[in-house]
């Protein structure tokens, strides 16, 4: 037993002895399943972009698939993401102040277009790189957004939240003793996307507070269902569930009124989520800003920090101010054109390079 090299063999033997025979169980499960969609023609599915991994083809005129109604109904839901409280001067952005927001935002949208155009041109030549982009061919198919288009007739420049297909906002109740993070702990920058380890479209199944041993909440965790995966550094499969953690964000600038405000995802809603992984756990990459939300009508609601994503078809979304220092109420934008997804993937890809 003490001979050299017996450890490896003994270890294997031990593990083999410990392993139960599960084949009959597996086979039974397989037999009960409907036939998997297969490539009966024997096409090579071991290529870098196997068809089984591909999202169904989206043409420039197609729409992103809506989440199943059952999923939407599964939970309470949502309205707009944030209600936060930060002084308008605290985080200087393109859209500051309520009264001037509409005019300023239009100017911002137009001036940002130039840089968006340049970015799009640069991205067009990079389509075949980065094999890890599982949907890369689709991103290329989307083309460089729709920057050359003129605003469609009748398209409102400003819409209100009430016009969007969003469910009611139902924030989690956060006890006063919760361990929170200040909302300005991290300012949003598109450059943050370089930390993306998983870019997906996901439906939020459940939101809950994580508590420590003493029962004190310290984070929010979301169970999400991966609807689509656009980029992954790891082997993660669509249709699987993930638990994603985010800090509890406190709006420090508005004590009393909104003492604890969550930049939280809404159960039942779908989002485009850049995620990162630390210590074997998934986290929202940009937890201190609203995530890109997909309305029930397939429109994309995003904040003005994504300057590259602003084009001529971008509408400004304005809601009622939730608090005296509500920062994001006039900084949300909306795109309903089919180029958004491709633009977002391209932006992420560019950041990763």
């Amino acid at each position: 037993m003490n001979n050299k090299r017996t450890l490896e063999q003994d270890y294997k033997n031990l593990k083999h002895l410990e392993t139960p025979d599960l084949w009959s169980r597996i086979e039974k499960d397989l037999n009960e399943r409907p036939d998997r969609r297969q490539n009966a023609s024997g096409q090579d599915l071991l290529s870098p972009n196997p068809p089984a991994r591909r999202r169904h083809a989206l043409s420039p005129t197609s729409r992103i698939p809506r989440p199943a109604a059952s999923r939407i109904a599964a939970a309470a839901a949502a309205g707009v993401i944030l209600i936060t409280a930060a002084a308008p001067w605290k985080k200087p952005g393109p859209l500051s102040g309520h009264s001037a927001s509409r005019e300023n935002a239009v100017i911002t949208a137009e001036t940002t277009m130039a840089s968006a155009d340049r970015d799009a041109e640069g991205q067009a030549g990079q389509a075949q790189e980065t094999m890890a982009f599982q949907e890369e061919d689709q991103a290329a198919a989307f083309g460089p957004s729709s920057q050359a288009e003129t605003p469609p007739a009748g398209r409102p420049g400003v819409v209100s939240y009430s016009q969007l297909s969003l469910t009611d906002h139902a924030p989690l109740t956060v006890p006063a003793q919760a361990r929170t993070m200040p909302e300005d702990a991290q300012y949003f920058s598109q450059d943050m996307l370089k930390g993306t380890e998983l870019l997906c479209q996901a439906t939020v199944i459940e939101a809950r507070l994580e508590t420590d041993q003493d029962g004190v909440p310290w984070a929010v965790s979301y169970q999400i269902l991966l609807d689509q995966i656009y980029y992954s550094q790891d082997y993660v499969d669509a249709s699987s569930y993930l638990t994603v953690t985010a800090p509890i964000i406190e709006a420090q600038s508005d004590p009393g009124a909104q003492s604890h405000v969550l930049y939280q995802l809404q159960p039942g809603a779908s989002y485009l989520l850049p995620l990162t992984r630390r210590d074997q756990n998934w986290h929202l990459l940009c937890a201190f800003a609203p995530q890109v939300r997909i309305t029930a009508d397939g429109e994309y609601l995003f904040h003005s920090g994504y300057t590259t994503l602003v084009n001529h078809q971008t509408a400004i979304v304005i809601g009622s101010q939730e608090g005296a220092n509500d920062y994001y109420y006039d900084k949300m934008l909306l795109r309903d054109d089919d180029g958004f997804l491709g633009d977002f993937i391209a932006l992420t890809k560019t950041s990763l390079q």
């Binding site: 017996t6 003994d10 083999h16 002895l17 139960p20 599960l22 490539n39 870098p48 991994r53 992984r277």
Partner: protein, 175 residues
């Protein structure tokens, strides 16, 4: 099973041929089961997740990229499934109730003396050491692959492995 044979099995799966899955199962069930058991520390749960793993493999076979190190691919998927299961379970029961053991009562075959000795020797290892030993021996992974899976520096992995082997050596084993 080498990469070429693995790819052949995957191709059979993609043609709805269960023998393809069976081939992979026969070669890798002990590896997957031990990796999952290392995380869950519960035989029943490990059996469930191992079964689910092979069902999932049937579903996602098309996502395998040829020649990309199939053992690391399999282990990464299995670990993710086990960790996900562990998190859900953890949510349902206090930490104190999660059993803190690795290897439970020996199976009848453990009457083989040296295997009992090894099982006991393995209990002297730390959690991290057991995982690395398992990935190295059962998964036949390189230190680099293990480092990527466990998200640890390669040097640390190699050091922990050597340290663990050293402990086993003191228990009567050498490599």
């Amino acid at each position: 099973m080498n990469d070429q044979r693995f790819e052949q099995s995957i191709r059979r799966i993609l043609k709805n041929d269960k023998e393809g899955l069976r081939e992979i199962y026969e070669d890798y069930c002990p590896m997957i089961y031990s990796v999952v058991l290392d995380i869950l520390k519960n035989r029943e749960d490990a059996e469930d997740i191992t079964s689910d793993f092979f069902i999932r493999l049937w579903d996602i076979a098309g996502s395998y990229k040829g020649g990309s190190g199939h053992r690391a691919w399999l282990i990464t998927i299995a670990r993710n499934m086990a960790i996900d299961h562990f998190r859900k379970q953890k949510r349902q029961q206090p930490m104190a109730e999660i059993p803190d053991h690795l290897l439970q009562s020996p199976s009848p075959e453990d009457a083989v003396v040296k295997n009992i000795s090894l099982a006991h020797a393995l209990k002297t290892l730390k959690e991290e050491e057991r995982q690395i030993i398992n990935l190295k021996i059962m998964g036949q992974l390189t230190f680099k692959e293990i480092a990527q899976i466990l998200n640890k520096p390669q040097g640390t992995v190699a050091w922990v492995y050597r340290n663990a082997v050293g402990k086993l050596k003191r228990c009567g084993y050498e490599q």
